[in-house]
Symmetry: C2
Subunit: 237 residues, 2 copies
């Protein structure tokens, strides 16, 4: 899907596009998404067209378009004649996003698995080793970055660009919702690393499609569960 869209998904590993996309709308989009992900625009805060346009040194028209893109990325909520507000850390929305991501990421991982080369598998193991090394002196940001890199390695030979795009969108959204899940649930990290190893073993062994899919899906579902348990331990009715 990436190949279809005029704007490359920000954060996509294949989109190493420079900051200069030769389109003000693109620049605005990138600036806003970065601002949201870095927390410069707090959740719930309003994004006012004129103000942003002034800030970015352009007219409101490109800004407006950028905001509509953010809207369909579900990074902002929009109300007609009122404006856009940065989407909050609603646990419900987080759950939806993680669930969707588990679905598409699981499928994509399984689909790519037979095409992963030995070298890539080695690279993934190396990344996971670095993640494990990081467990002692835990750094959530670095850990999350490696986590992304790990899964990206397994997606190198994506078969279905639509699904790949969905994965990237999910990642973007997560990054926007909170800089790092592991910052909130550090206890999840060791388990995550272990599951990575299991996943790699399955791929290396040429396990059946549904086994790999189930494992990859469960991997993310576990993260979600860990998060939910931590954040809302009183959520038992």
């Amino acid at each position: 899907m990436s190949t279809l869209r005029g704007a490359a998904p920000v954060g996509a590993p294949d989109a190493v596009a420079p900051a200069e996309s030769h389109s003000k709308a693109d620049r605005a989009y990138q600036a806003l998404i970065e601002g949201i992900q870095q927390g410069r625009f707090a959740p719930g805060s309003r994004l006012v067209l004129a103000q942003l346009a002034d800030e970015l040194g352009m007219s409101v028209v490109p800004v407006r378009e950028a905001i509509r893109r953010l809207q369909h990325d579900d990074l902002v909520s929009y109300e007609r004649n009122v404006g856009a507000t940065v989407v909050g850390v609603d646990p419900e929305e987080y759950r939806y996003t993680m669930e969707t991501l588990a679905l598409v990421e699981g499928f994509s991982t399984a689909q790519c698995a037979p095409l992963v080369t030995a070298a890539e598998l080695e690279r993934a193991r190396d990344i996971n080793a670095r993640m494990r090394a990081l467990l002692d002196d835990f750094d959530p940001v670095e850990f999350t970055a490696l986590n992304k890199e790990f899964h990206s390695t397994l997606f190198e030979h994506h078969q279905n660009p639509h699904i790949l795009d969905l994965v990237h969108r999910g990642w973007n959204r997560l990054t926007a919702l909170r800089s790092s899940t592991f910052a909130h649930v550090p206890g999840r990290a060791p388990q995550s690393v272990a599951e990575h190893d299991q996943l790699l073993d399955l791929i290396a062994a040429g396990a059946p499609f549904q086994d790999i899919e189930a494992a990859a899906r469960q991997h993310r579902a576990n993260t979600l569960t860990a998060y939910m348990d931590t954040m809302a331990p009183a959520d038992q009715h």
Copy 2:
């Protein structure tokens, strides 16, 4: 997701919004999507802003926005400084769409299954019976409409709006790509009806999640396979 987006997804069963959405951009979007789905805008044909604006009795600004929405729905491809062209019936793209739809629809069906009431199950059986009755004097359009209705019934209690939105997008895209798959592969229809029954049996029996998901996914995958076999029997390299 639907609840987050400013514009209700066209074709969504819960979006019975009248043609008057009180926004020219919305009207333009709806007009264009209908035009594409009805074949008024042939695949490959260009969508010129000024021309459409004139036709719809509005300025180019709302039309532009509508086209960008179509772009992210993957109904048109867009090139900077050139314009939008209606996406064609590329078999590759069709495969991607069907595959993605199999994924999200399968999951959604499985997730909704435990919540389907007896009445709804009955309704689904009734729809399927009407589809079976249609097999003798086959009408692809009517059959496809019932097919949509059938699956919609099983989605009544959607859990994850993001995934539901993905399903709707996939349907929209399919409708745009070709008015009806069954028009091209009529031989698939009887098998489809039979699989519907099996799916209903699984749901009624309270089958495990993964069984229902697998069945629903396979159901759509089968349609894809049937189509691929018919359209490209020489595709064996």
